[in-house]
Assembly symmetry: C2
């Protein structure tokens, strides 16, 4: 699919998960996309632990995920996104393991969207329990988890359209300034390419 279309159509839809298995080649390609991301001094701090198969996913959820996020128990794959802070630059207090892993995850989410897969990045989980469960070393942080799944077929398109139509984003003028902080260019959205 066209890049801009994928960027605009990506959405988080944990409520729309089919237990259908994901083909190994598609799983590989989605994970592989993350590896192409830029990173500070090419440190590539990102690591992914792929939990696959319903029994393994359900055991993970029982161990470390509660509340509404537990709906991902039906996914065929859950990816735990990890990084070790000391594997990347720290510049003037800015910890690039977070920034760089965020860039890699965006690639992964877009590649998944391109294959028509559902994702839903979540920061809400019990990090200590998840690390114990997946044997993740003490000095590695778990930054995010996401299910990776085919959509629950009949209702997905409608749910995605509804989600996208209700999606709330700050206005362009709230987040983009010109030449100095706070300076806006009005009506720039009229000239979208």
């Amino acid at each position: 699919m066209e890049t801009l279309e994928v960027i605009r159509n990506r959405c988080s839809l944990k409520e729309q998960i089919s237990p259908r298995e994901i083909e190994p080649g598609i799983l590989y390609t989605v994970l592989d996309a993350a590896r192409y991301a830029a990173s500070s001094r090419n440190h590539q701090p990102w690591r992914f632990v792929v939990v696959q198969g319903q029994p393994a996913v359900q055991a993970l959820v029982d161990a470390a995920v509660t509340g509404t996020n537990a709906v991902i128990r039906n996914a065929p794959v859950v990816i735990a996104v990890c990084a070790r802070p000391q594997d990347d630059s720290i510049s003037n207090g800015r910890e690039y393991y977070l920034f760089d892993t965020g860039m890699a995850v965006a690639n992964l989410l877009l590649a998944a969207t391109d294959f028509g897969l559902v994702t839903h990045p979540m920061a809400g989980f019990d990090e200590a329990a998840l690390k114990r469960h997946l044997h993740i070393p003490e000095d590695v942080r778990v930054l995010m988890i996401t299910p990776l799944a085919y959509p629950a077929s009949e209702s997905y398109d409608e749910a995605a359209r509804e989600r996208l139509s209700q999606r709330s984003r700050k206005a362009f003028e709230e987040v983009v300034f010109f030449n100095r902080w706070g300076e806006i260019q009005p009506e720039m959205d009229a000239i979208r390419a």
Copy 2:
């Protein structure tokens, strides 16, 4: 362009910058792409200060960018990527303003690549000087700067091909584990979709 192609072809090429101006509609669309990113509890912490026009870009570089990064002085546009830490979640010490802004920046870099534009994310700049120069508030961090430019035409394709062919990335098996930390699935790259 197809999403996977853009993800795989994005590269950092500050040496290949044309001073040619960027059309406002393309500039808008590249910045707009960042707004569609996911973020923790939809906090959308990202802010962008777009410095445009050679005099403004050169003044910025003179104020805050030294060494090899100063080559971006020829760009028609430099984007300063900013975020306020307290605008986003902090979960168990993980500061999501960095992670979420990373996701937004990946969207921006991919949209730029889709338009054939050169980018080069840089963490190396004098943050205090840059903030003074752009009137950025004390509590806002500048996470990254990137030029946005058309490629210096004749040599670009060759330079990009060379850069991509020499690009060093950790092997899939070094960054992707299955079901527990350190457990690999050998030869998974044979099944790329």
